[in-house]
Symmetry: C2
């Protein structure tokens, strides 16, 4: 694949998780940036050459040939020790949202993200760009069936929280997002697709449905905004701020 | 201006804040949607006609002629009673980010958003689209000088919090975002531009600099993700979740 943009290329080089990061092309200006020093760079004369190469105008003067995105296996996310915080995305379709959620997840110290194999955005160079390169440092797995994955997670003592609208279901209570106790134990936060939220078969696998208060007239947050508010609440309860404050 | 997309047109009609919402154009399919029933709609044969009209492919089958965006005066945001929560954006340039922050702000019940007159994204139809129409229900003011606005806010007993990176400044302490007491009194949350954060002259006007913990290798959140995490923390402390839980 052809990665493009400063952050994606820099983080791919730093992350060293792709099978290869091969040729780097850059404009003269970009080639002089410190993070590329000591690296062989093919300098192009016109930025348009980069646009043609990567198929986007958002390259910021640099792109690179790299191995495909190194997904991990779902077993790797569930198998570790400790009490990890994981995120699962149910059919998030928009590369911008997927990238943005991955960036927030990486910043919040999430141990891994699970996306479905079908009907969902994959980790393309556009997603890598939207994540500011964060996907290069984040473990992302693809699940054939998300409900199955959730069952496996629950068997391993993960508690599954599904993000929902306050009034999503009449049959089932949705609790305010700050009511559950997220401390201790593995936590899997499940977020639904942009338009429709969680599919019923995925919602059914959730131990609890949680909702952010909606005080305005527009009754739903963007999924990546919801992810940020929920992840930082969970992190706060789990003592994630301690490192920084010390 | 020409608004486009389902949410923007629907919310503009509902919000009734623009001087006018005139002709609505829609594809046959979109024209049959319930929210347009009883409304005169010009049905177009080809979706491309809408793209030409609004200059975007993201119209979802509908666009409408409307008066320009109805900004409010900065005095209106500062003058009210109560202890409002306001958001100020220091040179946020990306329409997608501005729209996304406005959507989150509207959902979180923010009383108003202030953007600078210069070197910042304005509330264009693209921003309206990115906000899912939330800007139609949100009070947004433009300030000639953001530092001046902050001084005025502080004179009226607002407490100004600037979002910052944990290690942004050696001279000045940045506190963890969940350390301040946001309850009681007016609160102004100030967020910086995508790349550079708060300008020094804006940071200087902040009573406190606050930071979200960064536990990963990518050391910054997208500004709209930071806005979501910070606004929901502030809302939670101020008891914003109570309505929903009841």
């Amino acid at each position: 694949v052809i990665l493009y943009g400063r952050n994606p290329v820099r983080e791919a080089l730093k992350g060293r998780r792709r099978a290869s990061v091969g040729e780097v092309w850059a404009t003269e200006a970009a080639a002089r940036e410190p993070w590329l020093s000591g690296r062989e760079v093919r300098v192009v004369r016109r930025a348009e050459e980069l646009s043609e190469r990567c198929g986007s105008d958002s390259h910021q003067g640099v792109c690179a040939e790299a191995g495909s995105y190194p997904y991990v296996g779902v077993g790797e996310l569930l198998g570790g020790n400790g009490q990890p915080l994981l995120v699962a995305l149910d059919q998030v379709q928009d590369p911008q949202n997927l990238g943005s959620i991955c960036r927030t997840a990486e910043c919040a110290g999430v141990a891994g993200v699970v996306i479905p194999e079908r009907r969902a955005a994959e980790v393309t160079p556009a997603v890598c760009k939207a994540s500011a390169g964060a996907v290069e440092h984040l473990r992302i797995a693809r699940a054939g069936n998300l409900a199955d994955f959730m069952r496996r997670a629950r068997e391993r003592d993960f508690w599954c929280y599904g993000a929902s609208a306050p009034d999503a279901s009449e049959e089932r209570r949705t609790v305010p997002y700050d009511e559950p106790d997220y401390k201790g134990g593995g936590v899997l936060l499940v977020l639904g697709s942009e338009g429709r939220g969680l599919r019923p078969l995925v919602a059914r696998e959730c131990d609890e449905l949680i909702a952010l208060p909606m005080l305005g007239k527009v009754q739903s947050l963007n999924v990546s905004a919801a992810a940020a508010a929920l992840l930082y609440e969970i992190l706060q309860q789990r003592g994630g701020g301690v490192d920084m404050a010390s």
